[in-house]
Amino acid sequence: MDKMPKWADVILTPLISVLLAFAISALVILAIGENPWMALKTMVTGALGSSYGWGFTLYYATNFIFTGLAVMVAYHASLFNIGGEGQAAMGGLGVALVLLYLPLPHWLIALPVAMIGAAAFGAAWAFIPAWLQAKRGSHIVITTIMFNFIAAALLNYVLVNLLRPVGSMDPASARFPDATHLPKITDLAATFGMTWGEHTPVNVTFFIAVLACFLTWLLIWRTRLGYEIRVLGRSEPGALYAGISPVKITVLAMLISGGFAGLMAINNVMGESERLVLNAVEGAGFIGIAVALMGRNHPFGVFLAALLFGFLYQGGGELALWTSIPRELIIVIQALVILFTGALDNMVRMPLERMFLSMRKRGDA
């Protein structure tokens, strides 16, 4: 028998964790002499109170969905992919090369080609750690972290020495051709005669991210490859017994994982900045770990967790803008959310389990 009903496991536990994190954040805000209620109000109105706020929240969430899915897929194979940051950065390079050097007349054509470029570069960056893990047993956590630094250094070199337009002082690529610009959601709304989220970066990539969630669910729970990934994640001796090659599945899972991380570049590089800039990923690769953890490695959970972190990002920006609460505090709040939903998960879960058990006992009696 399961210890508690599924809804309590999937919804109630993270919800209580988040509330606890917010409660402690409130104490921190009180301690620095600010009003937590005002802070919360600023965050909520700033992130969710207008279509403008939503535009940013959804934009950030789109990034986090991709990096969250990346961590999630690898996690099902029991691989901890910390390298989303580097893989997303390399995805950006893939997008930039495709858009700068291929003649792509329309965004509808540019989008699939850029997606292939982004996913291929992200996957390629994940391939080397995956191969080292599968063949040589080099721990993937260590290698993917190292590859984050290598990616950052490589992009630095490429941007400064190769992609930077002649005469520019800015370590960034040239702007992508106008024809390849992705429609923003605000443009789509305008075609239906609505005004929604003007001057916000959220673009059609958001719909791709939602579709990616669904496809990931299919992949993990409905395909043979997903089955084999889950088997390997649970038991390597079991995989061998069933004739599943750990080498093949490790590499495939990491390729898919790196591909998702790379796809994030469609949102931030192609959709938002429309050129490749230095440090374009801005930590979203690491947020993906928290998103996957909090989403309990389920695509729907990843989607919800990505929305929460999108809200925290946007709300935090608003907090810094309108109050005297320092910007750093939002990092504290994010850290608390990660701490409670990830590391301290059992602290909430165990009392809940005990509560449900005693409730069931009483029900049986």
């Binding site: 028998m1 409905r222 089955y227 001796p237 079991g238 061998l240 017994y241 069933a242 004739g243 599943i244």
Partner: protein, 549 residues
């Protein structure tokens, strides 16, 4: 059906207090009632058996007695004194010693160091070591508990390691010795030696509690026996006044067929031919040193042996997944066609396609994915079958239909294929694995430890299915450390020792004694009179087929 708890006659008349008297002991883990209102009286100077299926609550009860768990209710009296045992130190001070199923020894310490561990009596080791050496010499003389005190544990055989555990308890002046499944890891000869040690201890006035699931051991050595079923003590009887059949019925709660009903085999053409199979593991240790055997259609070949003599490696190699980094040589033919032994097509998937089913020895890490549902496990290893695919996706409905059918065929309970494998009992987990492999109708079934950790009712069922598969003309390779299982199921028995097959015997023409010698690596015996000219420590009590249970 089992009667309500029977109690030993003359209990109130005994003047001397019992060594141990438990009254109304209950212990629950969450919703699981592990012990329910247990009464147990162990007389001084007797060997008292506690028998029950896996999960009947034997180990919980003993852990309570040794202070690992605190009972929810009930009282404990030791030698007539009420005692609250809060930790194992209290238990040791009260004279209770425990020999665990999995030894608690430091592998790279010497025997002497292990014995004083936790009983150093001071900051310096030297006096304690000297004292222990003296005590050890005395104990060795008194009870034939011979072990070299300066040998490292890792150099000792399993039987000797167990002696060290017993010595540890005796060194702490244990009067009451609890042994948890002590013979699981021993050869018959070692088990026999252990029993003689226990009898010696009993003669010295020690009290021994023997926890086991083997009926034969109970009948052989105990004075009294208590039977547990589902957390309850269902009977306490004198061993002389009961029978294996009665005990089995009390354990399971219904009549059980102890002997496998099996007609003579009618072997056909060879299905599996193994020649010169060798395997060296990644540390350079030769695990298989040239194995040759055939299995014919409609025949069960049993491989007997103490675990760790290459059986696991043989099964894994035949199943298509030899240990990582090992080198393999030799040939295997399946239905006359060679199998790829070392190349890229030597994996488990290809083996299954060639008609080899495999019930692995370790069902919890290999045979099942414990977090997966029963239906997902029914597809395990067969998930790439065409009938389970629907375009790009898997046809989960088809798998669930099969799962439902297999679970009905094999009486797997609860009959809910959406439950995770870990929520089934050991016996039902094994039924899931056996169902999955047998229902695919393999030409050859590899089956390792088919009934380890499986309750008697399920054992009976699984044995029946194995024999049915044989009668359907399939070849079966059975590996088991339970000699009784090998003897009752096999049509032919091969004994493995140190990576070799020491010899093949027909079950009708051999005895546990002879097999026991082969398992210990001794071959030069007269097949028809094994007891003659054998050193006493290798002799083994003969059992007739009726007694084998």
């Amino acid at each position: 059906m089992a009667e309500p708890a029977q109690h030993l006659g003359g209990r109130s008349a005994t003047a001397a207090p019992a060594a141990i008297e438990l009254t109304g002991i209950s212990k629950a883990f969450g919703p699981v009632q592990a012990n329910k209102d247990i009464d147990l009286r162990v007389e001084r100077g007797t060997i008292h058996g506690i028998i029950g299926e896996n999960g009947a609550g034997k180990s919980t009860l003993m852990s309570i007695l040794y202070g690992f768990y605190k009972p929810d209710s009930g009282t404990i009296e030791v030698n007539g004194q009420p005692l609250s045992i809060t930790d194992s130190m209290t238990a040791i001070r009260a004279g209770i010693g425990m020999v665990f199923q999995h030894f608690k020894l430091v592998q790279n310490f010497t025997v002497l160091e292990n014995i004083i561990l936790g009983a150093e009596d001071g900051r310096l080791l030297r006096p304690a070591l000297a004292k222990a050496r003296g005590v050890l010499r005395r104990l060795a003389e008194e009870y034939q508990l011979n072990v070299d005190p300066d040998e490292r544990i890792e150099e000792l055989s399993v039987g000797h390691q167990q002696r060290v555990e017993i010595l540890k308890a005796l060194y702490r002046q244990a009067d009451i010795l609890i042994l948890d499944e002590p013979t699981g890891v021993l050869t018959p000869a070692e088990a026999d030696h252990l029993f003689r040690i226990l009898e010696g201890l009993k003669a010295e006035g020690k009290t021994i509690i023997l926890i086991t699931h083997k009926l034969r051991e109970i009948m052989e050595i105990t004075d009294n026996v208590s039977v547990m079923r589902r957390g309850e003590m269902v009977a306490s009887v004198r061993t002389a006044e009961t029978s294996p059949e009665e005990l089995a019925e009390l354990m399971v709660g219904r009549k059980v067929l102890l002997n496998v009903e099996k007609g003579p085999a009618s072997p056909g053409a060879p299905v599996l031919e193994v020649r010169g199979l060798k395997m060296v593991d990644d540390e350079g240790v030769e695990r298989l040193r040239g194995i040759d055997f055939d299995i014919r259609a409609g025949e069960i070949l049993g491989i007997a042996g103490v675990s760790g003599n290459g059986q696991t490696q043989l099964l894994e190699l035949l199943g298509g997944y030899p240990e990582k980094g090992s080198t393999v040589s030799g040939t295997i033919h399946m239905n006359g066609e060679p199998l790829d032994v070392t190349g890229t097509r030597s994996d488990a998937r290809t083996r299954r396609k060639r008609g080899i089913g495999h019930v692995p020895e370790d069902r919890q890490t290999e045979g099942l994915i414990m977090d997966f549902t029963a239906w997902e496990n029914i597809a395990f290893g067969y998930h790439d079958k065409p009938e389970y695919q629907r375009g790009w996706l898997m046809d989960n409905d088809a798998i669930r239909r099969d799962a439902q059918k297999y679970m009905e065929d094999f009486d797997c309970r609860p009959r809910n294929c959406h439950l995770a494998a870990r929520n089934f009992s050991g016996g039902n987990q094994q039924k899931l694995v056996v169902a999955r492999e047998i229902e695919r109708n393999p030409d050859l079934l590899l089956i390792g430890q088919p009934t380890r950790g499986v309750d008697i009712g399920a054992i009976e069922f699984i044995h029946k299915r194995i024999v049915e598969l044989r009668d359907a003309g399939k070849a079966i390779l059975l590996v088991s450390v339970e000699l009784d299982e090998i003897l009752s199921l096999s049509d032919r028995i091969a004994v493995m020792f140190d990576g070799r097959i020491m010899g093949e015997r027909l079950p009708s023409e051999t005895t546990t004694g002879e097999l026991g010698l082969l398992m210990a690596g001794i071959t030069d015996t007269d097949r028809h009179d094994p007891a003659e000219g054998i050193p006493p420590e290798h002799q083994y009590v003969e059992t007739t087929p009726e007694e084998r249970v």
